[in-house]
Symmetry: C2
Subunit: 184 residues, 2 copies
Amino acid sequence: MAKADKRSKLRRSAVELAYRQGFRKTTLADLAEESKVPIGNIYYYFKTKDELGEAILETRLDEFHQLRDFAQTLDLPKERIRLFIDATSENRAVVAERGCPMGSLCAELLKEGGFLGERSNALFAEPMAWLAAQFRMLGRTDADALALQLMASLQGVSLLARSFHDPRLIETEAARLKDWLAAL
Amino acid sequence: MAKADKRSKLRRSAVELAYRQGFRKTTLADLAEESKVPIGNIYYYFKTKDELGEAILETRLDEFHQLRDFAQTLDLPKERIRLFIDATSENRAVVAERGCPMGSLCAELLKEGGFLGERSNALFAEPMAWLAAQFRMLGRTDADALALQLMASLQGVSLLARSFHDPRLIETEAARLKDWLAAL
């Protein structure tokens, strides 16, 4: 396997492990086992747990970039924002079990503190800046507040759905948010 | 000090420790140091970390009960709901630093799993049931959905404020939520 492929495969395994069992509990040894790559080989890609955390964070950000790039192919800002809401809603079964992929990682990295804690808010800052740009295209002067409102609702309902083990809460809120968006 | 007083003092110290450094990191030895009570004496009150977790959870629920009991002295359901919003907003400096006292504890206990994980959703279930009752008094047939919407917004913005170290996000959302409430 080429180095770039192996790096990419290891990043996917690391993201999956951190989502399933938490970043804190995830060791380089776990990653070796999950990815079937010898531990001595893992060290070539990740020297420390901080490097592993950074790779997980960047991989999650890449997922948002892919969603954003696809959304940009849609004509209307409202369609793009709707796609963003649908992305959470479609994941509601796993979100109710493990939390929002972005939000739960952000909460964990905040607790780690240091460089990872400081960098963690990119997981919210990038989507919010993009959402605000869409609201501005709708002519809204309160675009930042609308982006905050939407992101807070989605993050909050993800936490509640996880706490109650109930994906329907996300369905309810997503439907309301899409009505709200349509009426803007 | 009477046993009931000492128990109460230990519970306060435990809540403060868990909020400051996280429940996971909090040991019975930390509690002995924080409360200036000898560790042998601590074991009289809390035999295990699970018992400590339960006491912290019940103490946080008591705080909500006190807020609710005070709110019940207000005449109008909208005034009571406004008080609930203000409670988060007034705490915004500490929420932006450490997270929502209820939400961050719930997230931590969920990760602990077991009895504490199962019990943790009382931290959301009780306030949401109470909020829904207030919305029903306003004649709203969508009272449960409104309670979900309000709780999700407050929890979500608390997480965002913590991530960005910015209490003003809570101020912005609380002001919007109070306008929304007034217009219901």
